[in-house]
């Protein structure tokens, strides 16, 4: 870096880019509190549109579906991903194919996994619904949990495992009483990350939800609503969803200091 860079110019560039990033979402949040509901008439702060969400049964059932999908897929992915991380890190030699297989769900484009799973479920004769969304979400969630736990395992002292086993503990006891307590912050951070990703995920859910409204998730509901334009209710919903992601992210970051900045 050039330490003699033009400081006012740098500040101006940074301010401009941050404005580009933050103005659109800030406008959205501000409008969600606007009593009038019109983008142009400001009639004071109100929680009216948030209250309206509470009476919209479509949104409530979509939110309930999202919660189910996120909780179940996170639980499965956290278990599988943590075990996977433990297994992989114990190996002395790891083939490229294994690494590629574990890494693939994080880089494969959503649309590809979405159509692949849609074709697979239909041709295999599996009726689609919330359960197929869950199965699909576990695929990418377990990869993210695994990568967070693996990062922690890099600095893990395996000699405490040997010590535990020398003292007569079984493999399962060692896992439960020695390994997991040390790994717990990373496991929880991974689970929070998985939960956030699952709550936000739209494309794969959209393709694997099957027909009918019964398995509509919140992002699917949002997509259906915003195709038809701007309403103060969507503004409130959007602000609420952003708030929840922000809280989950902050928690994950706290638990896993310095471990992750981007998905």
């Amino acid at each position: 870096m050039d330490r003699r860079a033009n400081a006012p110019l740098m500040l101006a560039i940074l301010a401009a880019v941050l404005a580009f990033l933050y103005v659109p979402i800030s406008v959205l949040v501000a409008l969600s509190f606007n009593e009038s509901g019109l983008p142009t008439v400001w009639r004071g702060v109100s929680l009216r549109w948030y209250a309206a969400l509470w009476h919209n049964s479509d949104i409530l059932s979509a939110a309930a579906n999202t919660l189910k999908v996120a909780l179940v897929s996170t639980a499965i992915a956290t278990a599988l991903g943590t075990l996977l991380a433990l297994g992989v890190e114990q190996r002395r030699r790891r083939g490229r194919a294994l690494e590629a297989l574990i890494f693939a769900p994080m880089i494969i484009p959503d649309i590809v996994l979405a159509i692949a799973l849609l074709s697979f479920f239909s041709l295999a004769g599996i009726t689609m619904g919330l359960h197929t969304i869950i199965m699909a979400h576990v695929v990418f969630n377990l990869a993210f949990v695994c990568s967070v736990v693996r990062a922690r395992l890099k600095s893990f002292d395996w000699s405490i495992v040997e010590a535990s086993q020398d003292l007569g503990a079984s493999g399962l006891t060692t896992l439960r009483r020695v390994v997991l307590p040390v790994l717990m912050p990373a496991v929880i951070a991974g689970a929070l990350l998985a939960f956030t990703l699952s709550v936000d995920e739209f494309i794969i859910a959209f393709f694997t939800a099957g027909a009918g409204r019964a398995s509509t998730t919140l992002p699917m509901q949002i997509f259906a609503m915003i195709r038809f334009g701007v309403t103060p209710e969507i503004n409130a919903l959007a602000a609420l969803v952003m708030g929840v992601s922000l809280i989950a992210l902050t928690l994950a970051q706290r638990l896993n200091r310095g471990g992750m900045v981007a998905p």
Partner: protein, 287 residues
Amino acid sequence: MRQAKSLALMAPALAWLFALMVVPCALILALAFFRRGIYGGVEYTFTLENLALVFDPLYAGIFLHSARIAGLAALIAVILGYSAAYAIASMPRRYQPALLFIAVLPFWSNYLIRTYAWIVLLNREGLITQGLRVLGYEGEAPSLLYTEGAVITGLVYNYLPFVILATYAPLARLNPEIAEASRDLGASGWTTFRRVTLPLTLPGVVAGGVFVFVLSIGNFVTPALLGGGQFQMIGNVVYAQFLTANDWPFGAALSMVLIALMTGLLMLQTLASDRATGGATGGPQDG
């Protein structure tokens, strides 16, 4: 013993990935070579027609159009993102992590919501139109939404943090003494940037650009929401084959070409960055 235990620990996750990722992806590859059934299903006779249809002028044109939009989005995102990363890296060291965090934070909010934010700004009665009215503009509200510009803006907005992350890492690692040496030898700030800083951080720039391009070219949400179906990108065509037109083999063939394009670009980028830096820096994983 140790290997067997490792395998047992990995088995459930690997089985899951095999059944729900490897098999479905292989299925898509296979589907591309089958005929479409009369009632929208799949007829299991081998054909190359689907792949040939991808290169039909109509669909090849959509591919080129998508590539142009994705290319413009990547170019703009690289210019904005690299400038922002450069500005962050030039700030005092103690503020840099916080600034980077702030720049990447919007990326964590929902993609649909970030796209919706632009509908709020750009629609006919949106804030930009209202702003023009306040300034005394009387005529017909300009149609900003449902244009190519709106789609490109949406893509840049959504993927900009990727570029900031990919280019910040090499910029922050750069030894400041190299730039100082260049200045001491009489080069201007601009020459130093063009001849020293930019070449040394090019792998990050390329990685960021390729990432935005790859994510944009297969995108169907942004064209659907900000393009309003006025024009199609390749992602929308794939989407239609699977969900409305029910021609799965053709949809599979389109996605196969799309995946090949994406994978090819990502591999080229990895190769280029490995060559440029001996594998030590660059690449999106540096974020």
